[in-house]
């Protein structure tokens, strides 16, 4: 699974990042790589069983804490 993911990312790099380098669009390259690296790190962390909190409960708790909600 991990290898598959790495292969996927390598493919994305080949298809997305390499053409940018060829066309010397450095700014695009930097932004795209930063996002991609973030994605890669996150997915690797998930693969290695680091538990991220689920987003919805976090937002729910936050909103409920700061606002008194009308009952539904």
């Amino acid at each position: 699974m991990v290898l598959l993911l790495i292969a996927l990312f390598i493919m994305i790099i080949l298809l997305e990042i390499v053409p940018l380098a060829k066309e010397q669009q450095w700014k695009e390259l930097i932004v795209a790589s930063v996002l991609l690296i973030a994605g890669f790190i996150l997915s690797m962390l998930i693969m290695f069983d680091i538990d991220f909190p689920y987003l919805a409960p976090v937002i729910s708790d936050f909103v409920e804490k700061w606002l008194a909600l009308p009952g539904s």
Binding site: I12, E16, V31, I46, V63
Partner: protein, 379 residues
């Protein structure tokens, strides 16, 4: 700086907005908080949605060739403007992941129970990536085809369902307390009608800017009617048990059985729902990538589509731990959570723009747009 060269006409905008608004809402129907009066809640929701839409349409009218990112740069200045843009893009990003996880949940709880969700996410987001990369024009043209095909099957489904429809389940009409009704209506307005605020990233590419208002309104009203009919059908078929289903529309369609020949059509319906979801995710993905590219003043948004989709997919897997949180978020939290992005940001931008620079055009022709924010704020 022309990041997008494609242009869309008003018909495809209407279709796109229709597909966008129906999108994931047909699997998780809005207005369910109102019980048997859900259809009425949706009708009120349309009105509120239109009022919210009026705000961003007015904003778009003031800056006809600019996306929200560029508008906020102009209105707030370079720094504050960037912060506002980032907030807005974060919302679009999160919305995209929410829609994605809606579909993943739908597929993985009904059909593909043992398939790892990551596979489903990847499949869905890859299609959206390819669409978003091709530009808004392609998405819009897809919308026209998909909406027509979808509508054909939708009407067919309604016809087939009419046999099982019991009007008595809908009676008595309008018995729930007004507060609950309005809350459900507000829920319906924020999801899905006011989510069309994402079109602030798309409207500048309309060929004829004057069509923006009628096209958007048409799309929203049209989608609202479809959702209303859907709500009526769900309650009319499933009756009191409607409220316990996670996906009532799906279960309503499973009751179709015409002479035991035309049965099990729910898969076809699900495919169409998937197609509308594709439109919604593609538009959001496009919006986020375009916005991010404009934010960093890049020459092209296309390289950003794939990385954004990767991040969106990861977030989609980490949205809801279980259905309980899903319900809690959708019913209670989302109507509040979405409001700053759907209403406050466009409204604030509009007001500041009006105060800062006295208009060259007359934007005051639509007094509705002015009144709406205060009304919605009171809720």
């Amino acid at each position: 700086m022309a990041l997008e060269k494609g242009r869309i006409n008003s018909t495809s905008l209407t279709m796109l907005i229709f597909g966008f608004a129906v999108g994931s809402s047909i699997i998780a129907p809005p207005g369910r908080g109102a019980g048997t009066d859900a259809w009425f809640a949706i009708l009120i929701g349309i009105t509120e949605g239109l009022l919210i839409a009026a705000v961003f349409l007015l904003l778009s009218k003031r800056f006809p060739n600019k996306t929200l990112v560029e508008i906020s740069d102009l209105v707030y200045g370079p720094y504050l403007g960037k912060i506002i843009s980032i907030l807005f893009l974060c919302y679009l990003f999160h919305l995209g992941s929410l829609v994605l996880s809606d579909f993943i949940e739908y597929l993985s709880s009904l059909f593909l129970i043992r398939t790892p969700p990551i596979v489903l996410v990847a499949a869905m987001s890859l299609i959206c990536v390819s669409a978003a990369k091709k530009g808004i024009e392609v998405i819009a043209r897809c919308a026209v085809i998909l909406v027509y095909v979808g509508l054909f099957f939708y009407l067919l489904t309604i016809l087939l369902l009419l046999k099982n429809f019991e009007i008595k389940y809908l009676q008595p009409v309008l018995t729930i307390p007004a507060e609950q009704l309005l809350w459900a209506a507000h829920g319906a307005a924020t999801f899905p009608f006011a989510e069309t605020v994402a079109f602030l990233m798309v409207l500048p590419f309309l060929t004829n800017k004057r069509d923006a208002v009628p096209a958007t309104f048409k799309g929203i009203i049209f989608a609202g009617l479809v959702l209303t009919i859907d709500a009526v059908l769900n309650i009319g078929i499933l009756g009191a048990s409607e409220k316990v289903y996670l996906y009532p529309s799906y279960y309503a369609i499973t009751t179709i059985s015409i002479a035991e020949i035309i049965t099990r059509v729910e898969i076809v319906a699900s495919l169409l729902v998937l197609a509308y979801g594709f439109l919604k995710i593609a538009v959001l993905l496009y919006g986020v990538s375009l916005g991010a590219a404009q934010l960093c003043s890049l020459r092209s948004y296309r390289p950003l589509v794939m990385p954004v989709a990767v991040l969106m997919s990861i977030l989609a897997l980490y949205n809801f731990p279980n259905p309980a949180e899903y319900i809690r978020f959708n019913n209670k939290i989302y109507p509040v959570y979405a409001l700053p992005f759907q209403l406050v940001i466009p409204l604030l931008t509009l007001l500041i723009a009006v105060i800062k620079k006295p208009d060259q055009r007359d934007v005051n022709s639509e007094p509705k747009g002015r009144r709406s924010p205060t009304e919605s704020r009171r809720r």
